[in-house]
């Protein structure tokens, strides 16, 4: 499958600050690609470079097999984007905003098409209202309509669920799944809602301090042998003695009062609980944590990870 995005050795310096450092990744056609990182990790700077808003200090960006900076107009015709908050012309109506950006994208505007697009994001009834009367969620949905109006092959969404209520988040999730799975679009999405990325992305890139930490499919990243397991008992001192004398000690990450936190294969949980129960330990609760968020935190801030559970 051909790469729609090919980034090689990308770096950006703002004076002495290194915002993005030698970043390389590729996104294949039809993939939904999650882009993760803490605040200030370099996600937005990378996305802005992909959109030609920022000039890289080093490295190359190829979109649709063309160099972004030599074929900028050709590439941008096939690209739609929501960049952080969807700031639009508040003194114009939703329809006027959509029409204006559709024309700028080189699209022949047909009212029916535009209204259809507004209906798709649930704004048909408010199409003639000025954007200044919209809620944050409605602005976000209009921003997504603007990004999709010219039917682009590549869609870049930077925090698209910002300001949305749970139903709005679910709608956007379904829209992204539809774009990727049913309409063959390539989607690059960054979000701080890691559970959302886990639900929609085929592959994920995690960056920290501008550097690539990990890239891979969700199934690769969520290796069961790396599960975090919390165990709560009624007699923790007894449990602690038993754990200290067995091989389980090597898996123990932290103890806090009556809770023990292990990093282990979750398939070994029955063996652990059986061994403790056999020695008279009364187990109150066992909970494996096994999500992208756990993995993300273990990569970007391993100490906070365990503390977060303990607290």
């Amino acid at each position: 499958m051909s790469s729609v995005i090919q980034v090689t050795g990308l770096s950006k310096y703002f004076k002495d600050m290194k915002a993005v450092d030698d970043l390389s990744f590729s996104v294949k056609k039809g993939e939904v690609y999650g882009f993760l990182g803490q605040n200030g990790a370099g996600k937005s700077t990378t996305i802005r470079m992909l959109l030609s808003l920022i000039t890289p200090s080093r490295g190359t960006i190829e979109l649709f097999g063309m160099n972004l900076f030599t074929h900028r107009k050709q590439i941008l015709r096939q690209l739609g984007a929501v960049i952080e908050s969807p700031d639009l012309y508040t003194y114009l109506t939703g329809y006027q905003n959509l029409s204006l950006f559709a024309r700028m994208s080189g699209m022949n505007v047909e009212k029916k098409t535009l209204l259809g697009q507004l209906e798709r994001v649930g704004l048909a009834e408010r199409s003639e209202s000025k954007v200044k009367t919209y809620s944050q969620g409605m602005k976000q949905r209009l921003g997504i309509a603007v990004a999709l109006v010219h039917d682009p092959g590549l869609i870049i969404l930077d925090e698209p669920t910002n300001g949305l209520d749970p139903q709005g988040i679910a709608d956007i999730r379904n829209l992204i799944l539809d774009l990727g799975r049913n309409r063959g679009k390539t989607v690059l999405i960054s979000s701080h809602l890691l559970s959302e990325i886990e639900l929609v992305a085929d592959r994920v890139l995690i960056i920290d301090k501008g550097k690539k930490m990990m890239e891979g499919s969700i199934s690769e990243l969520l290796d069961p042998s790396r599960s975090i397991v919390e165990l709560q008992t009624l007699n923790p001192d007894n449990a602690a003695q038993i754990i200290a004398m067995t091989h389980w000690q090597s898996f123990l990450q932290k103890r806090r009062h009556d809770q023990f936190i292990f990093k282990m294969n979750k398939q070994d949980i029955p063996q652990l609980t059986a061994q403790l129960a056999e020695k008279g330990v009364q187990i109150l609760r066992v909970q494996p944590r096994h999500s992208l968020e756990d993995y993300f935190l273990s990569l970007t801030s391993p100490n906070q990870h365990v503390e977060a559970f303990a607290n």
Partner: protein, 293 residues
């Protein structure tokens, strides 16, 4: 390009702020016209106090639409740049502040095209404002005061332009004023590219125009031949030159003549050079700019 220009004009003229200048200008012109309509003679007596002892002055004849328009232009063309700055200073910085600039730059339009279109839109706004001024100052004054020969006071002398020789001078004067005001628009546009909100470029443009106008008007020998000839503000009022005609030996104004056309053309060339420099600089800066807003 035309499609982009239409979009840009649509944005400018959909914004309520755009119309502040039109309302302000109408108010100022109407105030002057009402004042002159009811007490124009006192105004003329005051203006011509230096020569009224030597000549008989038929005030009823002098106070006509052409003279009123001249008085209005003379009073307002110094202040209109402030109104131009309101919109031209907002063209790029306003979009950066609103957050729409980043969306615009991700559209398949080159940055140079985007800048040119924004500047042309600012110029069209400037010319619309000038046209509005022409309608109110000239057409409405003619309707209110009628037409007659035009008398212009020049230092200690008077110049009389025949009624049929006046209108083309106004057309030329407004054309020149369009270039002069576009220079201010170009300056505000350049400053707008360098800012992230519109207040900065608007205030900076107004400040620059005020400081340079003061410098242009002051009589300081050190600056007279060195700095002043090159300030754009020194050339903004050269439109008046279209009302100064050549005279015959017996002192009569020669129909269709301009006293010093080369000086006007030189001023025009200087203003056009400023526009090219300001707009080119804006384009170069914007092409290299990282959009972080």
């Amino acid at each position: 390009m035309w499609k982009l220009l239409q979009i840009e004009l649509f944005k400018i003229f959909s914004k309520p702020r755009t119309y502040i200048s039109f309302v302000a200008l109408a108010a100022m012109i109407l105030i002057i016209q009402i004042g002159l309509k009811f007490d124009g003679e006192s105004y003329l007596q005051l203006m011509m106090s230096g020569i009224s002892d030597s000549f008989y002055i038929p005030y009823e004849m002098i106070l006509n639409g052409y003279l009123v328009a001249f008085v209005i232009l003379n009073a307002l063309l110094i202040h209109v740049p402030l109104l131009i700055a309101l919109v031209a200073g907002d063209t790029v910085a306003g979009e950066a502040n609103m957050g729409t600039l980043r969306l615009l730059v991700t559209k398949p339009v080159s940055r140079t095209e985007l800048m040119l279109v924004k500047f042309f839109a600012a110029v069209i706004y400037t010319l619309s404002l000038l046209l509005w001024m022409a309608i109110l100052a000239l057409v409405l004054s003619i309707l209110l005061f009628g037409t007659n020969d035009m008398l212009i006071a020049r230092n200690t002398a008077m110049e009389q332009i025949q009624r049929s020789d006046v209108l083309w001078r106004y057309v030329a004067a407004f054309g020149y004023a369009g270039v002069a005001l576009s220079t201010v628009a170009a300056l505000a546009f350049l400053l707008s590219v360098m800012a992230e909100n519109s207040i900065g470029p608007i205030v900076a443009t107004i400040s620059i125009v005020i400081v340079l106008t003061i410098l242009s008007e002051m009589k300081i020998p050190l600056y007279d031949d060195t700095v002043k000839p090159w300030l754009f503000t020194s050339h903004m009022l050269a439109w008046k030159g279209f009302f100064y005609s050549k005279a015959t030996e017996d002192g009569r104004s020669i129909r269709g003549s301009i006293e010093n056309l080369p000086a006007i053309l030189r001023s025009l060339a200087i203003l056009l050079t400023y526009i090219v420099v300001f707009v080119s600089s804006a384009i170069i800066i914007f092409r290299k700019k990282d959009i972080l807003s």
